[in-house]
């Protein structure tokens, strides 16, 4: 139970919630505002993380160049996926995206020379040498920690991730309040109607998929930096669905609902590991790990029944046809 009061532990939970916030913000823009059903969001996160790690560890590029390049590659992947598939009906598009994210993961697993394969980023370098991609990041993190007089690494990371998350949330919030955002919502409501008013629906959807994918790429960067090592197994489709849970928890079509959903999700997800009292203590810890999935499932079911609009959504919007 000591971990329950440990600041370090909750800082770690907060970092993960911050990364999820950035990841889910992309989905909010895509689905919450534009109505794009993307079930392969994690694929773009993987592309961001891998691009940065490969550019730094293999090509020796500065992290400060590799990071924006990785975000750009994630966005470009969104464009490439969107060009042929965004003309499809929403449900077919959803199938294409989930296939895409699995293709990304399988490529990462099998292209050993490029990605390190199954062994993950540790195998990015020469045989027998453990590759590193986060030396510059660790120095930056230490520098920030010193400047802010924060001793803990996790707390420093918490500050950096949430600073980035808040900037991205604010930018998204500003963008969706413009006439540009109004067109997105019109497309979400009825894309035929939007086209009848002269709106280039495909162009807007492409823009949104590029931006949403770039946000997933940013989440991938922080994921890579936080864990110092990753492998294809880190980018299972489950991660996409965690982001969807956060989106539904927080509420659709509301930018600031994303951090709320992510915080609740992070709290429940991490908090359930303290359920080690009787009768739950009769399960071992590995079995108890599954309890959190049950709890999250119950929370979602309860939400759908009692608060379908999410924590921050407007009920009045849910009943309109």
């Amino acid at each position: 139970m000591t971990a329950l009061v440990s600041g370090e532990f909750w800082a770690f939970v907060g970092v993960v919630a911050g990364i999820y916030t950035i990841l889910t913000l992309g989905l909010q823009l895509e689905f919450g505002f534009t109505g794009l059903l993307n079930f392969g969001h994690v694929g773009f996160m993987a592309i961001g993380a891998y691009t940065m790690a490969i550019l730094v560890a293999k090509e020796g590029l500065s992290m400060w160049l590799a990071a924006p390049a990785a975000v750009a590659v994630s966005g470009a992947a969104g464009l490439l996926l969107g060009l042929p598939s965004l003309r499809l009906r929403a449900d077919y598009f959803a199938i294409v995206t989930i296939a895409f994210s699995e293709i990304v993961r399988y490529v990462a697993t099998n292209e050993n020379a490029l990605t390190g394969g199954d062994q993950g980023t540790i195998a990015l370098g020469k045989v027998g040498v453990a590759a590193q991609y986060n030396g510059q990041w660790t120095r930056f993190q230490t520098w920030v920690g010193d400047r802010l007089h924060i001793g803990s690494k996790d707390v420093t990371m918490l500050v950096i991730v949430w600073a980035a998350a808040i900037v991205l949330l604010a930018l998204t919030w500003l963008a969706v309040r413009t006439p540009w955002g109004r067109v997105l919502r019109a497309i979400r409501e009825d894309e035929d109607a939007a086209a009848s008013l002269g709106k280039n629906v495909l162009a807007y959807k492409l823009q949104v998929l590029v931006l949403g994918s770039a946000l997933a790429g940013v989440a991938g960067l922080f994921y890579a930096w936080q864990f110092s090592f990753f492998s294809p197994g880190d980018f299972q489709p489950l991660l996409t669905f965690f982001a969807w849970m956060i989106l539904i928890l927080g509420g659709l079509g509301r930018v600031w609902a994303v951090p709320v959903g992510a915080a609740v999700f992070g709290f429940v997800f991490a908090g359930t590991r303290f359920l080690d009292f009787a009768p739950l203590s009769s399960f071992d810890s590995a079995e108890r790990a599954y309890i959190r999935l049950i709890v999250i499932g119950l929370v979602i079911i309860g939400l759908v029944v009692f608060r379908p609009q999410g924590l921050l959504g407007k009920r009045s919007e849910m009943v309109l046809e």
């Binding site: 006439p179 067109v183 409501e189 002269g198 280039n200 629906v201 009045s316 309109l320």
Partner: protein
């Protein structure tokens, strides 16, 4: 007057069944043209062909002398050939005002990072004016999903007008609109033509309405134009009576 819209031998079949089968007619600039015909005559398909929502199998559609039958719907709309839908396509989770504002043409604020403050003010002024015209101004800030069927029909019309159309295609504007509102709607439509010089092509089941409002009437049956002329000419046309009542009347 010259032809603003030329429909030439347009054909479209669905699974071997011809919905539109070589329809040809013109719409004169500044006119109100009624497009009528019995159920299944192909009116809606023809409408969809003209506005780019359905590809034509053959034939051509010319707007201002330029072919539009291979253009995407949004490109056709941008040229000023704008449609409404049979069932209103209300953007329900947006306000009534937003429904109209989103139709503003060439709004620089609709580009990502574009500056559109002035355009937005102008758009808002026009939206207010149009909403007042059809008596929806009191509902401007309500979610459009709370409007009644008839009000949604009016909102669709107003939204189409916000695009500053030159030729407006109305698909059954009177369907689901109460009789009192119908009179008002007709008045608005006539006002609009007088004020902005908009050309109108109207598909409508309500024959009284079409005969009252139209300068010219085009009658469609089995996907082909069977008669064309002034309301009086069409009314007296044997083929039209046959199409509506069947050939074995009288």
């Amino acid at each position: 007057m010259s032809s603003q819209l030329e429909v030439r031998e347009v054909a479209r079949a669905f699974g071997g069944v011809a919905a539109v089968d070589g329809a040809t007619f013109d719409v004169e600039a500044g006119s109100i043209t009624g497009l009528i015909g019995p159920n299944g005559a192909g009116k809606s398909t023809l409408f969809n062909c003209i506005t780019g929502y359905v590809r034509t199998d053959s034939g051509s559609v010319l707007f201002d002398g330029q072919r539009v039958d291979r253009s995407a719907p949004h490109r056709i709309a941008r040229r000023g050939l704008v449609r409404t839908f049979q069932t209103p396509r209300t953007l329900t989770r947006m306000t009534v005002r937003e429904n109209v504002l989103v139709a503003t043409p060439g709004h620089p604020g609709e580009r990502l990072g574009g500056r559109g403050r002035r355009a937005e003010r102008e758009a808002d002024a026009r939206a207010r004016e149009l909403l007042a015209l059809v008596g929806l101004d009191a509902h401007a800030d309500a979610l459009a999903g709370t409007l009644s069927g008839g009000q949604r029909k009016l909102l669709d019309l107003v939204r189409a007008l916000q695009t500053r159309p030159r030729l407006l295609l109305l698909d059954e504007p009177m369907a689901g609109v109460s009789p009192t509102l119908r009179v008002e709607l007709l008045r608005h439509i006539l006002e609009l033509r007088a004020r902005d010089g908009i050309t109108l092509l109207i598909v409508e089941h309500d024959l009284d309405f079409v005969m009252n409002a139209s300068d010219r009437v085009v009658v469609l049956n089995n996907g082909r134009v069977i008669a064309e002329g002034t309301p009086d000419e069409v009314r007296g046309d044997e083929r039209v009576v046959d199409a509506y009542l069947g050939t074995h009347h009288g």
